[in-house]
Amino acid sequence: MADKILKKLNIKVWRQNSASEKGRFETYPIENISTGASFLEMMDILNEELINEGKDPVAFDHDCREGICGTCSLYINGRPHGPDTEVTTCQLHMRKFKDGQTITIEPWRAAAFPVIKDLVVERSAFDKILQAGGFVSVNTGGVPDGNAIPVSYDDAEESMDAAACIGCGACVAACKNSSAMLFVSAKVSHLAKLPQGKVEAKRRARSMIAKMDELGFGGCTNTGACEVECPKSISISNIARLNREYLVARFSE
């Protein structure tokens, strides 16, 4: 069965020429979009039309288009990655929208994520947090035999669940405080749950939190919005672990 066609949509999108210039919303009508199209394909069609009309296309981030790279962003109709759960914007389909609807697209909003152009924001703040401690610097030796380092099933699972974080920034975008706690907690947890990462767990939590504060992210007020909007459903129980690691680190000094 062929996909249905959305005859007309109004795309209300944030336009901003550069980081220093002021932005504004502009609305573009778009016609005949298949419900089988992905959201980014719809954006591609819109941009092609804009180019044909001699206008500047809408800049937006995208890369793998299969939900694993974390590059695509977009705050669509009041939700990061739009009206679907556990998906990135590239995995969002137009069947989630109705004919005639106005779709509002905004960039991630956070002091630590300044807009570069239109819908593209600078997310290197996440890289800086990782550079502050999201690594294992102890010598782990050569490749050990399988099962030579005992890791319990539960620890391995929790570690892998946290490692699923793709660093897209939806947690920051969803949080009313623009807090990066879910991201930091995922990065701290996936290492803290494994023997190689445990060694530096305290120092890691301390330096990553210090960097997060320095970059201007807000604090966590446990609303849980990040977990719901996270395309990988990273649990806020990781935030409890981060708090624990951090507090233990501070009080053991």
Binding site: R109, S179, F217, G218, G219, N222, G224, L247, R250
Partner: protein
């Protein structure tokens, strides 16, 4: 230590510890208050209030309690300001109810309303009991003369429907504030994991319902009975 108190988790730690301290206070407060509705002669409540006023532990804890309120309020303002600054440009459209509860997003508003209630409450009772004891009558119970706190409280609730409603609303607002605050304080201390997440949230709701109905039922009792 100073950077700890102003780091994001440090500030939240202060909010959490002061919050847990206030839970303890509010639980004791409710327990004593409930004596109001179990004895219409007021003897039970007067004895309870007298015990609280003269008990050494309570006397020591009282100034700490005041400090607990001040710290909880001041730190919440600092936190809210910094969280506000973390997003200089807001969103045009928001669908926040999809991903979080209203209470969790509006703790500052709820807390402010509870504070307004608290000020009225202090003017109504605490001020007179503490600093203006001449205003209170005395009663003789078991041969001893003690302040008639019951009459002070009961007469307000019997005389004024507006105050009854105000106190009912106050109790409910406090309950909504605690429904998020209770489990949140444990989460902030790191005393949570994926097994306890749902349990803590459920305990939080139960605690909030007990506190809200407990405080609301007292003025309701006077409203209906007298």
């Amino acid at each position: 230590m100073s950077n700890f108190l102003f780091a994001s988790i440090g500030k939240k730690f202060i909010m959490s510890i002061s919050g847990i301290f206030l839970f303890l206070f509010i639980s004791v407060h409710l327990t004593v208050n409930l004596l109001l509705i179990f004895d219409d002669s007021g003897e039970l409540f007067n004895l309870g209030a007298h015990f609280m006023a003269t008990n050494l532990i309570i006397k020591i804890v009282e100034p700490i309690l005041g400090l607990g309120f001040v710290v909880h309020i001041l730190w919440s303002l600092v936190l809210s300001y910094q969280n506000f600054m973390a997003r200089p440009i807001g969103y045009l459209t928001k669908s926040r109810s999809v991903s979080s509860t209203w209470a969790s997003r509006n703790m500052l508003i709820l807390g402010s309303l509870v504070l307004v209630f608290l000020v009225i409450h202090i003017i109504n009772f605490f001020w007179d009991i503490k600093f203006n004891p001449g205003k209170l009558n005395t009663v003789y119970i078991n041969g001893g003369e003690i302040e008639d706190t019951y009459t002070l409280v009961a007469s307000l609730f019997k005389a004024s429907v507006i105050y009854d409603i105000l106190y009912i609303i106050g109790g409910i607002l406090l309950g909504i504030h605690l429904s998020h605050g209770f489990w949140s304080s444990f989460q902030t201390l790191g005393l949570n994991n994926r097994n306890w997440m749902k349990r803590l949230q459920r305990i939080s709701y139960i605690y909030a319902v007990i506190i809200a109905t407990g405080f609301a039922i007292i003025p309701l009792y006077f409203l209906i009975k007298f």
